[in-house]
Every structure is written in structure tokens, then in C-alpha cells.
């Protein structure tokens, strides 16, 4: 197990290097000169030249890439072209907000999906099943940019229960995490239902019932435990979607996370900031995938890692 984790951690290095290379070249292919955007049209040519030199933007792209990688392996993600502040501390101050929102969205999704999916599977083709499936269809069909304002209008304006936007207390977290987690909850509900339906007809479930075990125990101990593997796979993969989805959700709810930062940085052609943010999102994604694999072995002891 230890060797497996170590190997996977080592594998992260080429993955992140690959991601950073791709992002570096893609962002440099996008039209728009950061010096023009940063200094504005009124700036003197000489000042533009000085800034280009300082940022190495006057050098060939491969030389620029060399500087980037060299700084990267020294833990330096560069300085924001817009705010003139170092990228790493800025990201580190924003990252917890994004992580917090994504984790909260995941928890909300699981709290909704697991009971609903189990209920739908146990009461197959009943009204409960139909309602659960309709709700999950609704959840996956509603885009964040529509659901977010809708929730604000209802819960913040009409009922006056929750704040409209911003980050601060737990009440600030509810609407953005529900908005972000709605689609995941729907996917997980369907996945839980189908996965549970698949195992519920297996012999060991029938045996458990034949032993006279309580139905709830049969479902939760024998059936759900075996149905969890695909659910966790989806959960791990969907965490990346949550991080990507946070870009929209954070903009709607003025949530000061990486998603909002990346949108602003892209508009301003703040190359180091975009690169840094994408690198952090990729890093999170890779770590979550590793955690997902580790979870497999915990949930199903038959799976041995290594």
C-alpha cells in the first residue's frame, strides 16, 4: 500500500508537468497582449518594452517556457501581471474557499443522493422511485447560472433566510454549495439506484434475507456496501467537475475562490495567475483520484493496491 501511494505520488510529477506545459502553450496561443491590457493604450512604448523584458515576453516562447519551468521547480509560480503580487500566496489564500465550496457541495450531494437512491432502488417502479428519478433529472438539467439566481430569489429575497452572496458564515455557504452540488446529487442518485439494483438480486443478498436478517440491515450492510465501488468512482471523477463548476458558481455568489480568480485572470491575460490556478486545480484532481483508489481498498478488502 505504502509503495503504491509513493509510486502514485511520484507519477504526479510528470502529470503536473504535462498539465503546466499544455496550459502554458495554450494560454500563450490565445490572442491578446498582456502588456497592452496591463499598461493600457496610453502607456509609452519604452515602458511597454521595459515590462516585456521584465516578464521575458520579448523572448521566444520556448525560452519563456524554460524560465517558467525553472521557476516552477523552484516553487515560484511567478508574479501576477495585474496586481503585481506573487501568484502562490494569492492562490493559497483563495484555494481554501474553492476547496471548502467543493467539499460542501459534495457532502450535500451525498446526503441527498444516498438515501434517495437507496429509496428508489428498494421501492423500484413505485411513486417514490418515479419522484426520485424526476428530481434527479431536474437536478442534472438545471445549469448553475440559472439555478443559482433562482435559489437566491426564493431563499434570499422572498423568504429572507439566507444572504445573497459573499463568503463568511455557514449561511453564506448553503446556496452556493446546493447550486454546485445539485447536478452531482442527481448523477449520484441515479448511480446509487442502478448500482443497488444490480447487487440487490445477487445470491448473497437472498441468503441474507433467508437468514431472517432485517431488511434495512440487508440493504445497508450487504447490498449498499457492494454497490459503493462505482459510486465512489463517479464521486472521485465528479470532484473535478465540481472544481470546474465552481468557476461559474463562484462568479454568481461572489465567492472569493480560485474559480473567480481564474475568470478574471483570463480576461486580463494574466498568464502566471491562469497557469498557477490551473495547476492547483489539476493537483487537486490528481490527489482526489488517488484518494478514490485508496478508498476502494478500504471499502472492498478484496481489492489490493500495488
Amino acid at each position: 500500500m505504502f509503495h503504491y501511494i509513493l509510486r502514485r505520488l511520484m507519477l504526479m510529477i510528470p502529470i503536473l508537468l504535462g498539465v503546466s506545459t499544455l496550459v502554458f502553450f495554450i494560454i500563450h496561443l490565445v490572442p491578446g497582449d498582456p502588456v497592452d491590457i496591463l499598461l493600457g493604450e496610453t502607456a509609452l512604448d519604452v515602458n511597454k518594452q521595459v515590462l516585456r523584458q521584465a516578464l521575458h515576453l520579448d523572448k521566444p516562447i520556448f525560452v519563456q517556457y524554460g524560465y517558467y519551468v525553472w521557476n516552477l521547480i523552484h516553487g515560484d509560480l511567478g508574479t501576477s501581471l495585474v496586481t503585481n503580487k506573487p501568484v502562490l500566496p494569492t492562490i493559497l489564500s483563495r484555494y481554501p474557499a474553492t476547496l471548502q465550496l467543493s467539499i460542501a457541495a459534495m457532502i450535500i450531494a451525498m446526503l441527498i443522493a444516498l438515501p434517495l437512491g437507496v429509496l428508489a432502488a428498494v421501492k423500484k417502479y413505485s411513486i417514490v422511485d418515479n419522484v426520485s428519478m424526476f428530481v434527479s433529472l431536474l437536478g442534472v438539467s438545471m445549469p448553475n447560472f440559472w439555478l443559482g439566481p433562482l435559489l437566491i430569489i426564493f431563499f434570499s429575497i422572498h423568504l429572507d433566510w439566507l444572504p445573497v452572496s459573499g463568503r463568511g458564515t455557514i449561511s453564506h455557504m448553503i446556496l452556493p454549495s446546493v447550486t454546485l452540488g445539485a447536478a452531482l446529487a442527481s448523477i449520484l442518485t441515479r448511480m446509487t439506484r442502478s448500482s443497488l439494483l444490480e447487487v440487490i438480486t445477487n445470491d448473497y443478498v437472498r441468503t441474507a434475507r433467508a437468514k431472517g436478517m432485517r431488511e434495512s440491515r440487508v440493504i445497508f450492510k450487504h447490498a449498499l456496501m457492494n454497490a459503493l465501488i462505482p459510486i465512489i468512482t463517479v464521486l472521485g471523477l465528479q470532484f473535478g467537475v465540481l472544481l470546474a463548476g465552481s468557476i461559474i458558481t463562484e462568479s454568481i455568489f461572489s465567492w472569493p475562490g480560485i474559480g473567480r480568480e481564474i475568470v478574471q485572470a483570463l480576461q486580463r491575460r494574466d498568464y502566471p495567475m491562469v497557469q498557477g490556478c490551473v495547476l492547483f486545480i489539476s493537483f487537486t484532481y490528481v490527489v482526489v483520484n488517488l484518494l478514490t483508489d485508496i478508498m476502494y481498498s478500504i471499502i472492498d478488502p478484496r481489492i489490493r493496491l500495488g
Partner: protein, 521 residues
Amino acid sequence: MIYIKMYRFLFVLFLVGITACPNTKKEGKQLQKDINNELVIGIENAPANLDPRFATDAYAIRIGKLIFPGLVTLDENFKPKPLIAEKIETLNDTTYMITLKKGVRFHDGQELTASDVEYTFKSIMDPELKSPHASGFQKINKIEVLDPYTLKITLNEPFAPFEEQILVFGIIPKHVAENLKDKFNTNPIGAGAFKFEKQLDGGDVYLVKNTNYFETPPHIDRLIFKVIPDVTVRMLELLKGSIDLTQNALPQTLLERFKNSDKVNVMYSPSASLTYIGFNLNDPMLKNSKVRKAIAYAINREDIIKYKFEGHATLARGALGPINWAYEPNVSTYEHNVEKAKKLLDEAGYKDPDGDGPKARFELVFKTSTEKERIDIAKIYIDNLKNVGIQLSLRTHEWGVFFTDIQEGNFHLFSLKWPFVAYPDFLYYIFHTKSFPPNGANRGRYTNAEVDKLLDQSRKELDRGKQKEIFSKLQNILADELPYIFLWHEENNAVVNKRVKNYTLSASGDFQSLINSSISE
């Protein structure tokens, strides 16, 4: 047991989430100890850099003005009037003697002196600092500090807009900026009505009142500029009352929602903005002024103002609006007239191949950003031009791409808005031959020897009356030649919570009136 473990795991995650939540409520209580009233202003994006030497975005400049007053400020007609300066004497065409008010103090208690002014200007001129405003300061030849309250500035050549373009810059304290260097923007100290308190990770800016302000101190204890990127959410925050004010941060279509509100007032004021259509004058078709005039006649600006802006815009006759001191109303105008447009196109040699049939006389590409309001109006242009036989194809691009295209002259027509055409010397920047990008914003590559001559003259003429005559001539030529279609001057708008008193919406759209505003609970 696995499901119990699972839920236990979720519970732990939830606790982690809660713990990670900053306890701003507690923090807020601590902050509010000596704060009786605060005003929250919704802004679209975070000010990037509040240091006036680097501030380029609108919010950084406008918030910065509350922290860093300049030697002069602009009045309602955009004429300069002294602020930190006691008086400004013009010794000759190129020399100015500036006397500072005594007793103006920075937020740390140190007195603002001539050395601070010298330091501010010289640091902007220093190429090492890479200030985006350095170009304007290249006109300065020498700055001499005569005593703590007097300084003499000598220019390389006469430059009439010296006061409104140079002396408006916020003054920074030498003793702080020298020590902090490029970290000054994280702890900006000025001599303004409000002191910088903090800037949150998301960009929200907190200012507190400066009780030692050299003019009447503000009544409001704290201003919070809250960044709300989403336009709908800004509107909802106003409806809920969790923000008190937005200025030019909502489109007219959403302002209609507040018409009968008992919570907020909607205010309008004339502005110095100019919305225009730019032509690429290197294009053989658009070089012909008859084609440009035909397009101007074809566009139904009157209806756009009436229906899209609900009347809250003024038809433009030139780049300068009616509130500008140099505005010239007696120029050629282009009221909507389809027949005149068709006739001009015929005269230009672009006959309609099939009368009123589907075939177009020619096709042009119109570029704009992805902003919804701009796209909606562009669709009206398409329809208007179709009526005179011109096929207009719309291309929308993300801002960076669009802006690069415009700068490189990669367009037929485009539409943009200048948010603040306050000083008439702005015409130099957009129409002088020397102002082709990257040296200026003459993006259509307009060139006219007479215009260049008049613009050069306007910079050398220090007498306001004579300057006005020069600008009148210029506005006449530009209205005849139409390097732009001067569309309209959109009014400033503000949505203000009714608890805010004495707030006025200035023509410049800045936040200066918040100094005199108060809050009734």
C-alpha cells in the same frame, strides 16, 4: 457498518468545512467597535491596484480618488479647480508655480509637502517603475521644490491640458512609498477623505473615514466596496438591501425593476461617456466619407435611445458632450433618414443591384465584444443597414481578442464606449495622426492635416476662450468627416438605498459625493 463509517466520514468532512469557514461575524464585530454606520457599494470587479501611479481600471481610479486627492480636481464642466493646491500660477507658457495648502496631512499624520508632490511625479516618470501613466508626464522637464509649500514645474513645451491631465493625479507620501516600494499598493496611505482599511481576498475594499481630512470630514464611518461579478446578483443584493449603492453597474433593462421600489431610488445624471462606431479608414469603401455618412443616416439612433435606454441617453453631435465646457452644438448632424442614406450610397457608386430586393450593395463586418447589451444593439444596426442595402455581419469576440483586433486595425466597423471624455485634449488621443496605435487610440487610422494642426495648436494655446474656438473648429471638421459615428452620451445611473442621504450622482461617475453623504437609520 460501512455506511456508518461513511456518514461518520461525511460528518468529519462537514466539520472540516465549517472550521475552514472564516469567522467573519466575530471579526466583523471586532471591526465594528467604533463604527456607527457603513455603506456597502456593489462593484463589478476588483480594483487591481489602488496606487494612483498604477491604477488603470475604473474602480481603482475612482476608489483611489477617495484615498489620494490630487493637486486639482475637475468641476462639473470638467474644468480644473484647486484641491490640495492653494493656487496655481502660470509664469509663462511652460512654467507653473504651485502653492500647496498648509495643514494637509496624510493618514499617518505626516504633513503633505512639495517634496511628496515631487516624489509622486518623478516616480511616475521613472522608467524603472513602469507606470502606465508615464507618457503624460514626459511633458515635464523640471520640478523644483522652492519651500515645503511651493514648487515650480517647467514643461518641455506648452501643454494646455497640464492641469487637468497631470495635476489631477493623487499624491502619495514619499516617506512611506520609498520604504514600501512595490508593496505600497497593499497598504496605500494618502491624504484623502477616506483611509484604506483592508482589501479582502476576493477584492472587496474597506475604507474608513479620515477624521483629520483637510476639508469637511465624511459623515459615513466606513465604505465597503463589495465585488459582485454577476449583474443579476448585484440587482438582487440591492433588492434585499444588503448593498446600498451601485453606480453604472446595472444595465437600463434591469433598472426598470426598481421603478416602484420602496427601498431604493434610481438616479440619473448626464455623463462624459461617448458610445461610437469606429470605421477602418484604410478600407477602400469606408475611406469614402459618403459611405460613412450613409451609414450614419441609416442608423436609427433616436429609436435606440428611446427604446433601449428608455430615453436615458443624449444624441451625440461629437466626442464632447453638452456638459463639457468646450462643447460645440452647431455642427453637422445625422438624423435617421433612409432615403438620404440610399442617395449617398448611390452617389458613392454603390448602386443597389436589385432595388429593394435581397441582394446587398456590399457587405461589411461589424465587431463587438460578447457583452449582451452590445450584441442586442448590434442587431439593430444590422436591421437598419439592411434597409439601405448594406449587409452587416456581426462578429463577437471575447474582450482580449476583440481589443487586439481593434488595435491592429483588423476590422471594418466596431463599436465601443469611451467612459470619460472629460478634457477636450482627448481628441488628440483619438484623432491625431501621431495617435495611431500603439501611441494612442486613433484605431481607425484617421488622418487630416488640418485636424492635426488644430490639435497641436490647442495644446499650445493657454487661453480658455481661444482654446474653445479651436475645439469648435475641430468638432465641425470631425462632424463633417465622420471618422466615428458619434452615437450617444449614455447617462450615468445609480441605484441608491433610501437610507442614504445627500448622495448626488456626478457627471464623472466617481464616488466623491460619498464624502458628503450620510446614512439615516
